[in-house]
């Protein structure tokens, strides 16, 4: 018999997640239970409007569920774990639309994620430079987002997601705005990051080859996980 101390606690656990909009008239999630272990690589796929991005937002603390709970290492988000701190220290987000700030240079876009943590300015700049070098962007650090290609912008966004050394990487359609070459390169970078850093990675995608490449694939339809 295993003792409670030796029981394995998932890094993320969703219990009975319901998310509704428009005063309950639209239900994006209709009772989702899922457990994700530390270091897992999980792909979530499904048709448009199935609720896959909503689930990612709830797991990442970007939004709160109408019903149900999300636990990070056994502690409930929004109660035992402050959502802002969770997003800044534990989670790195990558979005389809990159979401870089247009007035900031590439290196500044990476630093902006670290500003809220009151780190030393030199340290922030050096870390941003190191991450951009890892992304193969050492020659593009001082460029503004509108001076970068789509692939380069997504690599800046990946560097920004890694800025605070998170334990979980959440990517919402990371290749949705990229051509096949950049798409492959982005996935190669993400795989490399996961292997090198042992991070937990959850990718929302509608591309079958990306979904099938993940060791674990969750399909979602009409707000429910397909078994």
């Amino acid at each position: 018999m295993s003792s409670p101390l030796s029981a394995r606690v998932p890094i993320l656990e969703a219990r009975g997640l319901v998310k509704s909009y428009d005063e309950g008239r639209v239900e994006a999630l209709r009772g989702v239970d899922v457990q994700i272990d530390a270091g897992e690589y999980v792909a979530i796929s499904g048709p448009s409007g199935s609720g896959k991005s909503t689930l990612l937002h709830l797991l990442g603390g970007l939004d709160v569920a109408t019903q149900g709970q999300v636990f990070f290492k056994g502690s409930e988000l929004g109660k035992a774990v402050d959502l802002d701190s969770y997003r800044s220290r534990r989670v790195g987000f990558i979005f389809q639309a990159f979401y870089l700030l247009p007035t900031l240079r590439a290196i500044e876009n990476v630093q902006v994620a670290m500003l809220a943590l009151h780190e030393n300015a030199n340290h922030r700049a050096e870390r941003a430079a190191t991450l951009l070098e890892e992304m193969g962007l050492s020659h593009r650090m001082r460029h503004f987002p509108n001076q970068l290609s789509a692939g380069e912008r997504q690599r800046v966004a990946i560097a920004r997601a890694l800025a605070n050394d998170p334990t979980i990487l959440l990517a919402d359609e990371p290749t949705g705005n990229l051509d096949s070459v950049n798409s492959a390169r982005t996935m190669e970078i993400l795989s490399g990051i996961r292997e090198q850093r042992g991070m937990t990675m959850i990718i929302v995608t509608h591309e079958n080859d990306i979904a099938h490449a993940a060791p674990r694939h969750i399909r979602i339809r009409d707000g429910r996980i397909e078994l």
């Binding site: 701190s85 987000f93 700049a125 941003a128």
Partner: protein
């Protein structure tokens, strides 16, 4: 070395991205602070000059009609005041602001030729006037502005007066003024047998009594023999007379309106900025920025606008005062002197205006849900 991004640098970039709007907002708050520096600075300098005039003339008490802007008292009451035991000398006087030329107006005083108030003036040229004669003395500042010297004539309200001398006064209110015989002033102003005030000089206080207590006691004694008349200690009269009160009220009222317009300008700019940057605020929130970080960023931008507007406003307001103090039309009542405390106070008001104007947009920005803000088109 990799370029660093600081919190203030980020705020500055946000202001710089909409240069024209930032500039126009700055113009608004600059005008508000400029008006405050110039108008309130003027009214305070006016009060200060008024106090200097009383103190340099050796006036202890001003006897005036109660609570009236244009005080009018029977000249014959002079004898009753003189009979009060502590009173040494009584100087009946009239003062008024009059047009000397279409461009120049000045304070005009009517004094008796033997008034003790002459003791504080330095005669620079000519001689003192004679009672009953159409003669005037000009303050050096006014004489210079008008280009007049002894022997020249000036027409005041249809009567020709000969300039018989020039003097330097203890304050700008005197140096920029005209002094004529009291009887001539009564004719010109249509105040025969009346005066605006009696200026009273007291005997030295008895040994062991403070000057303040002595003056208050003498004021009470004068009021006891003259019901419905106020005997006001000179220092109090300088601070509380109706002209100074009016100057303060106009200055604060006008400045408040100008400041309000400036504050609304910053509030509008920050509200627009938060509205336009909804998605960017969502990105910052997604990156873990707390609501208070968003508040801090927006308040930093609003405060920077207030601070910059404050500095520019101080420069413009001070410049306006200097200009007014050099113009013949206004030199007699405007002093260019501004206290450092007034400038500091202006800067604090400017910064507080920025904080006040940024408060609501900042609160609104901090309340945005990250996911709603990211969806914003």
């Amino acid at each position: 070395m990799a370029s660093q991004l600081s919190f203030t640098g980020f705020a500055w970039k946000n202001l710089w991205r909409r240069r024209l709007r930032t500039f126009l907002t700055l113009v608004g708050i600059t005008m508000g602070i400029g008006a405050f520096v110039a108008l309130v600075g003027f009214s305070r300098a006016f009060e200060h000059e008024w106090l200097r005039m009383y103190t340099s003339s050796g006036i202890d008490i001003a006897v005036v009609q109660s609570n009236l802007l244009s005080s009018s008292i029977d000249e014959s009451l002079s004898a009753k005041i003189s009979a009060v035991p502590d009173v040494a000398q009584v100087a009946p006087m009239i003062f008024n602001l009059m047009d000397l030329t279409p461009e120049v107006n000045a304070l005009v005083y009517g004094w008796r030729a033997n008034s003790f108030e002459f003791d504080s003036l330095t005669l620079l040229s000519g001689r003192r006037f004679h009672d009953g004669a159409p003669e005037i003395l000009l303050g050096d500042l006014l004489a210079s502005n008008l280009g007049k010297k002894p022997g020249d004539t000036i027409s005041i309200l249809g009567t020709n007066f000969t300039v018989v001398g020039t003097y330097r006064g203890g304050s700008a209110l005197e140096s920029g003024a005209v002094i004529m015989p009291l009887d001539q002033m009564q004719n010109v102003a249509g105040m025969e047998g009346k005066v605006t005030a009696f200026h009273v000089k007291l005997r030295p206080p008895p040994v062991g009594e403070t000057q303040d207590a002595y003056v208050k006691q003498a004021s009470a004694a004068i009021e006891a023999v003259l019901p419905d008349i106020k005997a006001v200690p000179a220092a109090e009269r300088a601070a509380n007379n109706q002209l100074v009160d009016l100057a303060h009220a106009v200055a604060w009222g006008t400045s408040a309106i100008a400041l309000l317009i400036g504050i609304l300008g910053i509030a509008n700019t920050m509200a627009m900025s938060v509205f336009e940057r909804t998605r960017e605020i969502g990105i910052l929130r997604a990156l873990g920025w707390k609501g208070r970080h968003v508040i801090l960023l927006i308040l930093a931008e609003a405060t920077a606008l207030g601070f910059a507007g404050g500095l520019l406003g101080i420069g413009i307001g001070w410049g306006a005062l200097r200009l007014l103090s050099s113009l013949p039309q206004t030199a007699s009542v405007v002093s260019a002197s501004v206290s450092p405390m007034h400038l500091f106070e202006s800067l604090i008001i400017a910064i507080a205006s920025g904080l006040l104007a940024g408060a609501y947009p900042a609160w609104r920005g901090a309340r945005l849900s990250p996911v709603e803000a990211l969806r914003y088109e």
